[in-house]
Symmetry: C2
Subunit: 205 residues, 2 copies
DNA sequence: TAATGAAGTGGACAATTGTCCGCTAATGGG
DNA sequence: CCCATTAGCGGACAATTGTCCACTTCATTA
């Protein structure tokens, strides 16, 4: 098990200065294009053209559109993760694991909502959809919360793994988009629905 | 509201005999190709080549890969629908709407499992993913069951629309595939997980 | 500073999906 | 039976994603 994830935080060996600049440049251009015409309506080819780099260069920096989109909201995602890490083990403020689970879901729904266009466009090649790095991170947290709630007796014994995926499926960006834009649901409605099913519903009787 | 759905059952005006034959021929060829190399690994172009028809012809018969895949399992889908219609309002054999909901989910999981490859390959252009004809059909049935259960007091008051989508999301083909093939879950495990969340969980206390 | 080799770059190419449109031929009315 | 209408056909084309690889440039080191 090597830690070979390409976290740009830990420059395994090195990254050329010009490459870093180029990467930032691409991000800036993509951000503008996505804002102007929408992320869905913008092709990778277009981004490369606008940034005046070859396709190869673009794809060297971002393996696919989902990575590009992800990179554009990296800060908000990290902020979300920081917020979650902040309360996820804070049993003083939130004695109930279920309460923390509810908070988690709530935060996730709001995060999704605030970057819907990018998250839908960057749906990713379905094989990364269930266990891309970010989804894996969320999955892991859900498992921890569910197990804690179960051990505390707040939750009747259940299949934590299956349940975690069910939770993530119910709030995945594509469905969220459909509910918000086609069906006109509000975030509150989504959160309330989630709470009813996965918090109240699963609570031990 | 015109009834303009292209149900090949009701030949609105006419369909040329040779076209019908051609369609059947394409289906036969696609069936073999899909069986041989897998539906995912077979492109529409390849199907057209193998069937010795132009791309235009192929797309005239099947607007996209999802329609082609769907057509290949039409019979099983219709059998599923018939089975469901058979018990969905049968309050004699199944007095409890929740029991019928459980049956519905069970049947759906097994149907999905028996045509996983085709259903995953024919994922369809995500805009049809939540309300393609078949999904709409399932959605409608779920709404009916949930409302009946609610009115009967089996279910605490809840957001039936949101819940129906959550149920469908939790058993969508892509996730099912991932759970079965990457995670090694059995159908029984999936069904049990669903029952715990959406039957036992939502049952009125 | 010059050489070296790895990181980075560009754009041609391949693969795929889906559309367009001029041509062909089945069908049905006269 | 013949012709006009129009469904149906074929395949070129456009759009997009992603890969490949020969070439370039930076950065280290001797």
């Amino acid at each position: 098990m090597t830690t070979e994830h390409e976290l740009e935080e830990s420059p395994k060996r090195r990254e050329r200065r010009d490459a870093r600049a180029n990467r930032q440049h691409i991000l800036a251009v993509a951000k503008r294009l996505f804002a102007d015409q929408g992320a869905e309506a913008t092709s990778m080819y277009e981004v490369a053209q606008a940034a005046k780099v070859g396709q190869g260069t673009l794809y060297r920096h971002f393996a696919d559109k989902s990575e590009l989109c992800h990179a554009l909201i990296k800060e908000d995602i990290q902020a979300f993760q920081a917020r979650v890490d902040d309360f996820i083990n804070d049993r003083e403020r939130y004695p109930s694991a279920l309460q923390r689970l509810e908070l988690f879901i709530s935060e996730k729904v709001l995060l999704t909502d605030s970057h819907l266009s990018l998250l839908v466009a960057g749906g990713g090649p379905q094989h990364k959809r269930f266990r891309g790095p970010f989804n894996q991170w969320m999955y892991d947290r859900l498992i921890l919360l569910l197990e804690e709630a179960m051990e505390a007796g707040e939750l009747a014994p259940l299949d934590v793994n299956f349940t975690a995926d069910a939770i993530l499926a119910a709030i995945m960006p594509h469905l969220h988009y459909y509910q918000r834009h086609e069906l006109g649901y509000s975030c509150e409605r989504i959160i309330a629905g989630m709470r009813h099913i996965f918090i109240e519903g699963l609570r031990a009787k």
